[in-house]
């Protein structure tokens, strides 16, 4: 069999009877068993095929799901000891939509605990390794999904993106990662991290596949009242449209200290390619870009401290038997069940929301968020798509930044503002770094609910990169 199947390849192979649905499932299942020892991309691997709906858009396409989304009757750990033995009571909406479209689920992928991290080193079940160099991180938090796609241990995968957790690992593993507009995809059945920012998105081998999967998982959902009632177009339809005359904005703030020179080189090259395609390149400014990350690291911990209050050792998940009172159950279960990063964020959130500090931190951060969104709104008055790096560096070594939480936070400097403003963003491979020979991602940001223009531009650029 050939290597590195796209969705199109699978559908074609099934049609021409190059392989059957069962054969392709077994092919991936066997491949995962060999390769996963090395990569730790999967936390659980399904041995049995589910019933496949025939004649659907993704019939028999093998895919992987990040382990913070629920597939009924199977484990969902969120990368945490506190949910080590938790069995999903229902399907996440995105999962059930994929199920209805005919996919075969291969397993659940590794992540930073509760999706908190940028390297997948915060998983309670060990880090995932980057397929391009197993001494390096795959990025995070959807590092398992990105590594599985990059190593062809699935055809595509779902991830979740709160501040870059789909785009940044896609960038570091050399695959495509799409974060849809906030409200485009239901969060029902996604274990909540920061509810006002979380969004599910696909990690794929090309832009076409990302467009195809988005069309399937998108739409309003009565179980998620933040899904926006909007028509879901066929996102694959306009991909081949000529992008001559498309206005592309390049924020001057993106080229800052900390951006590695080999990343900058590839980003400039991709921008030049867009110009070759007939796009109009414009210098723009996002004056408050500098403050996005600080605002994010107040909003996220605040929402985390609230969302993770549900893990109390009472209703499900890990429970400590120590102590004699209910309060002891809370304290002991949470102390033993959570790893260091959730503890840091829960405590930081509790601090930011505590009496006397609310105005100085939480309220201030939400005001800054308004300024970030205003910057984007003004920029999008002049341009159609904004571009730049996905991540300031290529994949770093496992353990290299583990002792410094703040330096890991800085990994998301280019992706976080997009979540704060609720915009769609995509990372596409822009080649290998001159020195590191590691993948570099090119980020493209679209207007609210204008994934079509974004995907069209990304597809056209992908062809010439």
């Amino acid at each position: 069999m050939a290597k590195n199947y796209t969705i199109k390849d699978i559908l074609a192979g099934l049609k021409t009877r190059e392989f059957s649905a069962e054969e392709i499932f077994k092919y991936y299942n066997a491949k995962i068993k060999i390769e996963n020892n090395k990569l730790n991309a999967y936390l659980s691997v399904f041995e049995n095929r589910t019933d496949i709906l025939p004649d659907q858009p993704l019939s028999a396409v093998p895919c992987a799901i990040k382990d913070n989304m629920l597939i009924e009757g199977t484990a969902a750990t969120a990368g945490s000891k506190i949910l080590e033995n938790y069995i999903s009571a229902y399907d996440a909406t995105a999962v059930s939509k994929l199920r209805s479209s005919g996919v075969q689920f291969l397993g659940k992928t590794n992540l930073d605990e509760f999706a908190m991290g940028t390297s997948t080193e915060n998983s309670a079940f060990g880090p995932t390794k980057n397929p391009h160099d197993v001494k390096r991180v795959p990025g995070g938090s959807s590092g398992g999904s990105a590594a599985a796609v990059a190593a062809d241990l699935c055809v595509f995968a779902l991830g979740s993106d709160t501040g870059g957790s789909v785009r940044q690992p896609a960038s570091m593993c050399g695959v495509v990662g799409l974060k849809p507009t906030y409200g485009r995809v239901s969060r029902h059945g996604l274990i909540a991290m920061a509810s006002s920012l979380d969004q599910i998105g696909p990690l794929t081998k090309n832009v076409y596949d990302a467009a195809l999967v988005l069309g399937i998982i998108a739409g309003t959902d009565k179980f998620d009242s933040t899904t926006v009632p909007r028509e879901v177009p066929d996102f694959t339809k306009n991909l081949d449209k000529n992008i001559k005359g498309l206005k592309i904005g390049v924020p001057k703030e993106f080229f800052r200290e900390g951006l590695s020179s080999e990343v900058e080189e590839k980003i400039r090259y991709a921008i030049a390619k867009l110009e070759d395609l007939g796009c109009e390149i414009a210098d723009i400014s996002l004056p408050n870009f500098e403050y996005a990350l600080a605002s994010y690291y107040i909003i996220v911990p605040s929402e985390v401290s609230s969302n993770l209050a549900r893990f109390d050792g009472i209703r499900y998940g890990y429970s400590s038997h120590g102590g004699s009172t209910l309060s002891d159950t809370y304290l002991e279960s949470r102390s033993h069940g959570f790893g260091p990063e959730p503890k840091r964020r829960i405590m930081l959130g509790a601090y930011a929301l505590s009496s006397g500090y609310y105005d100085a931190y939480y309220l201030k951060a939400q005001k800054v968020r308004a300024l970030i969104k205003k910057d984007f709104d003004e920029a999008f008055g002049k341009v159609d798509v904004i571009v730049g790096p996905t991540s300031p560096t290529t994949a770093f070594k496992i353990g290299e930044k583990a002792s410094d939480p703040l330096s890991l936070y800085l990994e998301d400097v280019y992706t976080v503002p997009v979540n704060l403003a609720g915009l769609p963003g995509i990372s596409i491979p822009a080649g290998l770094g001159k020195n590191s020979r590691l993948p570099i991602g090119f980020q493209m940001i679209g207007k609210h609910f204008d994934e079509q223009t974004l995907l069209n531009a990304a597809h056209q650029l992908e062809k010439v990169l």
Partner: protein, 102 residues
Amino acid sequence: MLSEKEIKHIANLARIRISGAEEDKFRKELSLIIDYINKLNELDTENVEPLYQVTGLTNSGRPDKHRADFEMSDKLNEKLIGQAPRSEKRFIKVKSVLNKNG
């Protein structure tokens, strides 16, 4: 830098019990992060309205109707509380709410 008293207070608010060594570690780490986020004070936000969410949706409701798919049954009951670490019959068991010593 957060004081020892402050970190104890925060940990208690978060319902997380931390050891003496952890206390020191978290105190240092959280203080560094707080120093970083304090840079927001450079910005004048006097006349800015806070933005809590970006969808523009307000008061998304649903009809207050009986939902057949959520009719209580043994099966649904099992789904909802079947994974509780301590339970008896259809109920979740918890330890004493009040501390006997005071």
